[in-house]
Symmetry: C2
Subunit: 350 residues, 2 copies
């Protein structure tokens, strides 16, 4: 068991970098967390639906973190055209993100309306852009669909999309279930899957009454968590880190209706190393966090630009909160991170 | 569809009446909620383990609500003896409550240690006391046991207890699953089951990030909720109201680790009528809330003492909170009720 690990700075293939004051706190934390490349989700207010928006946002992010590579995405919506796909690709936009609410109705048949996006998907396939799926059906009591089975029920659509667009790169984002892991494994080389840090640790009990562990998709059964751990233990090349780090001010978490999201950016790799080590997978850190995602996306970085990070096995206390902006109310200007106040077993020393 | 319903004041066969300032707020609300008989849970600090404690607590409750009948229980623990059972019964104590944490270890085999309580159960069977079960296994990641399957995994123990003590009255408390409903239905006449108000309404989505809907057992899948509704629709005589109303001050709900419990006492029957009406079961209100439980427990009330309540189909707004005690911090002195700020469709007019 080594007490020191040197790896290239990691890649986070699913991050929410926010806007305004919150963005200014979050983005400089990326490098401190051990990450040098981020795949940026487009769900801003308003969402990023145009190439110009993506480029303008990218410029903002780069000004806050010049040493980090930002890969940009568009938000799938009915306004998105094949022409915009070609344009976006030519400007370096890498992917298109589909959210459940992007479909026309809150029903199983609503999801079937992916077919309205088929011209867009065809264009993406041709230019080599990636489709990023938030893989959950909308909850529907009449269909017995709820947060606990919404991902598993979505998988039929993943299979259908891959069948209809075998050359389209598709990533099932933030997988939480054994069913999702098995489905992705069974599909072809163009289907990848991100796993968050927190879903490698949490089960349903951990978000029952614990708002800071509440996210979407919700953490599931222990056997689901084990499936996520197992696919890392087997070093599967199409599974890679996407933190889905999603900061919210604490007054929007500790309240009657908590926002969904877990904040892991400032200590991403220390969290991950601690958790991987806890189930005997510390030797999988490099592949899962540094290599698999870039290989899947076929991202060539300037080798000279990639810094190394050194992790040592030393205790590190997670801060109780991260302040941002200029708020009278402390709660409105604080983000509570994952595992606040707890001790990690690995830290970054450079 | 009648716009006015006259029924006897209802019975709540599972209530938490708390202590001190909170008790003084809660107990006078019982009658206002349309309830005249309560089955009182013993999980105070310290828990009620002796006859004297139960009688002293009963006297406190009666002084706050002279028109309400309080049926008392003891907390199952290794100190409870067959002799104490005989004594408690002779003083009118009706039941013994078993909590998962009352067993010796946090494991499946721990629950097997119900056998250590068999002399107590034998005495209860002989004197006619009832065993009230919080029917959940403790969560255990290695056994894939979590809040979503803890009740279903417990049911084997319910079946075993009923087989070993066929004459012992057993109530499975606050059932939340189709599996529990089917198990209770399949067992003999001495096995009953309470259903809460909120579990007739909530599914897992409703407590995901919503602390005021978080309780134990947690609400489950839509098909589980439907099973609870169906057993009421069929007017099954061994299923009856037990609200599990469990008030907590709001600062212990809207926080990082929320206490489990939903507060329904002040509007119990208006909530219940509203929900039953929503799925076509308003005609089952009397049986479920007024008759089935008393028949199961063989409780004879002085007919002249039972007041009637009149419900009318009129909108009623649920208060945002109920104040208690004398707290500087508003949050520490407020309980947020179920469905705060929402409109009910039935109200009590007398």
């Amino acid at each position: 068991m080594p007490d020191t690990i040197v790896i290239p700075a990691a890649s986070d293939f699913h991050i929410h970098t926010r806007q305004d004051a919150l963005m200014k706190m979050v983005v400089p934390c990326i490098a401190k967390g051990g990450v040098s490349l981020c795949y940026v989700m487009p769900n801003l207010k308003p969402p990023i639906t145009k190439t110009e928006q993506a480029l303008a946002y990218k410029a903002q992010l780069e000004s806050l973190a010049p040493d980090v590579t930002f890969l940009m995405t568009l938000y799938l919506s009915p306004e998105l055209t094949p022409e915009e796909i070609v344009k976006a690709s030519s400007h370096g936009v890498v992917g298109v993100k589909s959210y459940p609410r992007g479909v026309t109705t809150n029903s199983e048949s609503g999801i079937e309306s992916y077919t309205v996006y088929y011209p867009v998907f065809r264009a993406m396939e041709e230019v080599g852009m990636t489709l990023n799926l938030h893989g959950e059906l909308p909850s529907d009591v009449d269909q017995d669909t709820c947060v606990m089975n919404a991902e598993e029920k979505f998988l039929v659509h993943l299979r259908q999309l891959h069948q209809d667009f075998p050359k389209l790169k598709i990533v099932l984002e933030h997988a939480t279930t054994k069913a999702a892991v098995e489905t992705v494994k069974a599909l072809g080389d163009n289907v990848g899957c991100t796993i968050t840090i927190h879903h490698l640790q949490l089960v349903v009990d951990d978000w029952a009454g614990q708002c800071h562990n509440f996210c979407k998709p919700v953490a599931k059964f222990p056997h689901d968590r084990q499936a996520l751990r197992d696919v890392i233990l087997e070093d599967h090349p199409r599974f890679f880190l996407g933190t889905d780090s999603a900061p919210h001010p604490s007054h929007l978490k500790e309240c009657a209706h908590a926002c969904a999201g877990v904040f892991t950016t400032p200590l991403a790799i220390p969290y991950l190393a601690t958790i991987l080590d806890s189930f005997g997978a510390i030797d999988k850190l490099r592949g899962f966090a540094c290599e698999n995602g870039k290989r899947f996306y076929d991202i060539k970085e300037d080798e000279g630009r990639i810094r190394e990070i050194t992790l040592v096995k030393q205790s590190l206390s997670v801060p109780d909160g991260y302040s941002f902006g200029d708020h009278q109310d402390l709660r409105q200007g604080t983000v509570i991170p994952f595992w606040a106040g707890k001790d990690l077993t690995w830290r970054i020393v450079n």
